[in-house]
Amino acid sequence: MKLSKLFLILFLFNSGVAQVFCQEKSDTTSQSLLDGLLEEDDRSFAVTETFKATRVVSLHSVETVDQGEFLFLIGHRFGTLNSGLRDLFGLDNATIRFGGDFGITDRLNVGVGRSSFEKTYDGFIKYKLLEQKTGTDSFPFTLTAFTSANVNTLEVPFPDFPNTGNEHRWDYVSQLMLATKVNDHVSLQLAPMYFHRNFVEQEFEENSFIAGNIGTSIKISPSTRLNAEYFVNPESFEDQNNLTNSFNVGFDIETGGHVFQLHLTNSKGMTEKFLSQTSGDWFNGDIFFGFNVARNFNLGKHN
């Protein structure tokens, strides 16, 4: 065969073969380009929204308000369901707490509140020490520390003891909250607590004691969650007093900047201090219905 003919055939052959190879390369290249990008890109992110709000039901959750944000919280608690029809099953006896949580930084929050029950003011500082993370540098839980003071401002704080001093109006509660977002549907929290009360009414009551609470949040839909918390007061195990452990159930509905919470509880008050004074019994119908409205305000531009 003439060499030029051979070259022609080979040239055509190569163009044809090259075309085929070229095609295959084109079909896979954009995917393999993407695969290359995905391969070298594994990062860690902090887990957010372990709980939808800074409270599980009445007690604090590990969540903090972000820097420059202000959470305005209005809590309503009615009387017991077993108060009967006359009292509209507790609706006639309402107490209210209004307060706010403010984000100094994403981790550091301060807050104040005032409950109409015993005209008590409460103030707290909350700091998120550790954050749960996913990805390559994963970390299993979020740890938040909390300390608060409550002051009873009734003219006579303890009606059975009219001669108490001002220092006796104060109660202090601290806790360490440990929580984990198991998955998108379930979160769990555990919190050992330390109470100190400047005044106790009964002799056998301790001024200082350790208690604890556990809480959970379960996703029902993207905007709704079912929460529960159980506060264990070691004093409830004493026979001499009629204290009980506090069990609270709440249903959260979240819409953009608002969270509406409906709850049922056997505790009259809405802060940590009051939960330690619980004497209601769920099985006896000493159930208080209540609801909270939480509204998030953005006070500063977050960058």
Binding site: L3, L6, F7, L10, F11, N14, S15, A18, F21, C22, K25, S26, T29, S30, Q31, L33, L34, G36, L37, L38, D41, R43, F45, T48, E49, D66, Q67, E69, D106, T134, N183, D184, P222, S223, E254, T255, G256, G257, N296, N298, K301, H302
Partner: protein, 181 residues
């Protein structure tokens, strides 16, 4: 001699299909939602992109959690409630710039090219046909594209109560720059 020429003829022709893949030096993705009660904007400055200069193949990858909003609470809702980052942490695109004529032929004035490919958002893959604008100035290639995305196409659910706050159609803006050696 003839056989040496033959050898190069046979094997030489394959060299024209070598990959010249480069990664973007900076890619920014912004999205914008315009609704009756509010406008929402978020920026992702950590997106990654790569191009094969020999054939115009293009790929993008980003983490949804890298989108930054003015309101941190909105950012959290976006991640958890709407985009479900736990299940779908990333969004990607892989496709081809049509009518690709090689990097040497890129103009220093912006020129539009059609682009086709697969876009994956919230775990849903869609074939898309959009336009991308390219220009090459010195050793820098810049690319940008603006296109719309329908929430419903990617199974992103918007609660009825939010219809005045979140648009059904979101405008996305992509900007990348590449340095060629």
């Amino acid at each position: 001699m003839k056989y040496i020429i033959l050898f190069f003829l046979v094997f030489g022709s394959f060299s024209s299909n070598e990959e010249q893949t480069i990664q973007s030096s900076a890619t920014t993705i912004t999205f914008f939602s315009k609704a009756a009660l509010e406008d929402i904007e978020a920026v992702n400055k950590k997106a990654k992109a790569a191009i094969d200069l020999s054939n115009g193949q293009l790929a993008y990858s980003l983490y949804i959690s890298d989108f930054e909003f003015d309101k941190k609470l909105m950012q959290k809702h976006f991640q958890n409630k709407y985009m479900e980052v736990e299940k779908y942490p990333k969004s990607t695109f892989s496709g081809t710039i049509q009518n690709w004529n090689g990097v040497e032929n890129l103009s220093s004035t912006s020129t539009s090219f059609p682009i086709k490919g697969k876009m994956t958002i919230h775990g849903v893959e869609q074939q898309i046909n959009e336009t991308i604008t390219l220009k090459k100035v010195g050793k820098t290639i810049t690319m940008s594209s603006t296109f719309n995305v329908e929430l419903v196409d990617y199974d992103i659910k918007r609660p009825k109560v939010m219809f005045q706050n979140i648009a059904e159609t979101i405008e996305i803006n992509v900007n990348s720059s590449y340095e060629i050696e």
